[in-house]
Symmetry: D4
Subunit: 166 residues, 8 copies
């Protein structure tokens, strides 16, 4: 983790780490400094509130919050900051993340959370969405994103060619 | 409302009033002092936290929280008090309360919320559940509840007799 | 199990035991005397009705009922007692507990059940919710709950610190 | 209603009457004697249990039970009789009958309920299903059902011809 | 299988056999003669139609039909007979039986199907429901069902006693 | 309707007419001869089977089938013809067409149905899909479809321009 | 793959191959020339658009598109061609294909996609549906389909006979 | 609309205007220049692609896309730009926006869309989320957002006080 993080990642529980790692990997690949914390909306509400309230003053630009079941974390964080908050609904539990999705995306008017898909795809996209926001003020990231898109396109093409050749 | 409320009702928005009124009516009928407040988990997080934190010291015994969509209110309140918190998922919105139900009932381990049904039936039952909790230490309420149950039974019987006679 | 149980746990089937154990563990940790019974709303209706009807006279304060699929147990029990009844929807079956959730939480007006989340998280919270209700009249439990909350908070902090150090 | 009813219809609430009437109309059309009662699994459990337990001795052959939300009525009745019990999930409430459907159809092994569709179509079919069961031992009903089927077929044909002619 | 079957079981695919076996086991235990057939509403429509049309003349009293996904089997069979048809929605596929449940239970007015729960619990109950229907005209089955109910009750009691003793 | 219809539309009930009309309007606009019939999979199974079996010999090229609730019509028709069958799940009923969608689209392997969206949008697209299939062997329809697409594009553009000007 | 393919299969990701193979197997069995490509609506939008736009001129008659989660592929392809497009919703992800189903089948009016069931059954049926469309102008395929239907019927009969004999 | 828009709003259909207006109102209140366009992913794919591709060069910073049913618009736009894309699932249709929600939020890994709630609450939050992103590089917007939050808090307080006084 970095001295001057631009992105703060908060997860509600240690068990969310494998999913959150997808977002971290993206930030690492783009050379974006981040800080990753464990803090629960319910079990450590004071520390969660503090993390959210102080983020902007510490130079954080974007917050990514991931939680499962009745996933209040992203909403609770969003209520305490005007930084953009990206939510990742965690899979698992009997409803396998539909509860987390509805708890994250169906925010009432006034306090927005930008929700990603449930689970690892959502976590990877959370990292990319954070980079896309940061790239609005960062030429280097903007170029890196364009290269990433071109690389994705080439990767699909390579797999397609391999399939044709098989 | 009363000088020494035993039940604190919090709703996320003024528009939840017609549903919350069902709980209030029950408390009135049983002569239970209550206080009803509007405070949002997202739009007024500081006041919501304060209401929850101070409730026990003010003599409150049970909290009823009603909210819609990504209904974080009951969970946010429950995280700041050890009083029993009863949640009422509000209907409305495109998902008509399924989102509020999942956001209220699917609380992760550690911070319980006792969820009622979506809407007015849930609100009435929230009032009754609060009375049932208070009745554990209040002989008068215990008797009143037994009378209420007998009355409900008689009411069903009357309607049944009327149907037979029709 | 204890001579003068304060909490009665009823499960519809032996197969619900691993989930119910989460509630039992909480009660044990808080030193709350309990009794755990197997009785089905459908397969042993007479004994279920008797358990519910006699609970208050035996000194029971709170009932926790867990059942799966068309989970009628909590509602059937609640109809025969004015004690607070906490429902745990069991996971499993083709719908993995959504049926049990709706059958437990969507109680019609008049007979409340306080529903927890589906499965183990819900069972643990059922135990905690029972303790929170009992703590209204028990200073020792009230202090123990506050200590439990502080411990949960510290536990999250420890895990967060470990993550920062890793 | 009739002196020696063969079919007992029970509804959980007076408000279910317009839906139950669809079943009654079918029974009337087929000349099947019936008795219709209001009794709730939750609000009048003793009377509901008695209705179910005594049905067989009174000469009842089939029971039709309709209830909404966490619809325990059909299951509670089925637990107290070995007569075939047909369930009608009532529409209405925030979930518009999905809760009633799951609470009616997802009965655990041991106590069957034959569930119909949610609402009026289900109620009409409940009446027909009862007649089909009774027809196993009643030549007149068997003939009447065959005539009813032929009439339905002709009715579709008439509508089709009218459409072609329009 | 028996010379003069009273119950006809039809499954849409060989893969449904482990679920259907639950119904067969019940029929065997109650000494009810049955016939079990594989026939698909879609892949062998002529034979399915014939099985349904001829069932009554062959002395069949009740038909049990189990199918998965867009489970049309029970409805297609019911359209060709006035015998009571019991549907078992099969689990499996991406929707794990919710599609089969809706395709079985949501029959339009006119042609009833009595739907059981998804999967093995539903299949066991299908067998029991068939026996309950047959018991209306069979004293022996009526007594056997009462014994079965008493046995189930005792079984729950035994498990409860074992739990108390553990 | 036409002497040599290329498209056969079947609806399960007269009440489906307003939705089916959307498909008819498309066929009219493209000058495709059609025949529209009312026939139910359940209430008039023999005529439904006959309509499907004889369609190919009568020169029909595509069948469009619309039904609601447990919508077996498209599947029953598809089982009796090798012509492409397009299904329209009808809205309405307590589940508002989710049941019809699952009953139409989740066909088991072997007998395909091409499902459209629930309701009027699906019906319009059913007409267009039929035209697209017919256009494979009909130059005039192919040109007409291209013109239709261009017109749709222009229509969006006009509305966009109007919005800019407002 | 073939020199003059009649069917173009596009999948959004290499991981969809095991499902798509079911469609390919059908085309092979019927001797229909096909081309299978990997191209994503999101990661390689230009190539996806080109594949769709050029398909008709290359002699393609039918396009089969399979994708998962927010499955835009079939719709994006359908927007760029007047050939019939068949969609296969892929299972997997936290919602196991319900998201892919809704994203595929719920196309707004104007651009139809014929959706199959989620997963392998849907893929097999996609292949069959393509053959049924091609058979409208190909006597050989028409005969082959009739033979295939007869074979399926016989196969069910064989399994039924084996069950009777067991 | 403005000469140098910072936010581009695209809706799939004119009928989405009342919902989109909620986002526009927010942008107006914050003095953010915007451009609102009608363009469909399916009916005008070329213009949609052009709008997305050229947005960054025209100085657009954030894109808001709203569409209903199988809502591909946000994903199709996101695939053609590295600007942050915010999706608004439109309510309406038989599934009332669940289809649009899944089609918007469940984006596969690689191309993120930040999804808001279904309907007007989501649209208002989309406007706010865009402002929060723009505020990262705009001191004036940052202050305005803080004022907006304080105003929301005060508004809740006023309504609470009015309720206490009533």
């Amino acid at each position: 983790m970095a001295t001057n993080p631009q992105v703060l990642l908060i997860m509600g529980s240690e068990s969310d780490l494998p999913v959150m790692q997808e977002a971290v990997d993206v930030l690492c690949n783009f050379g974006v400094a981040y800080e990753m914390r464990i803090s629960s909306a319910h079990r450590s509400p004071v520390r969660t509130t503090a993390l959210a309230s102080e983020a902007a003053n510490r130079g954080i630009k974007v917050i990514i919050a991931g939680a499962g079941m009745a996933a209040h974390l992203a909403g609770v964080v969003a209520a305490k900051t005007i930084l953009p908050v990206i939510g990742i609904p965690m899979p698992g539990g009997a409803l396998n993340g539909v509860d987390a999705l509805y708890s994250t995306v169906q925010m009432p008017a006034g306090i927005p959370v930008g929700s990603m898909a449930i689970g690892k795809a959502g976590a990877k996209n959370a990292g990319l969405f954070a980079v896309q926001i940061l790239a609005l003020g960062d030429e280097r990231l903007s170029s890196a994103l364009q290269a990433f898109r071109a690389e994705m396109d080439r990767d699909v093409e390579q797999r397609d060619l391999a399939l044709q050749a098989s």
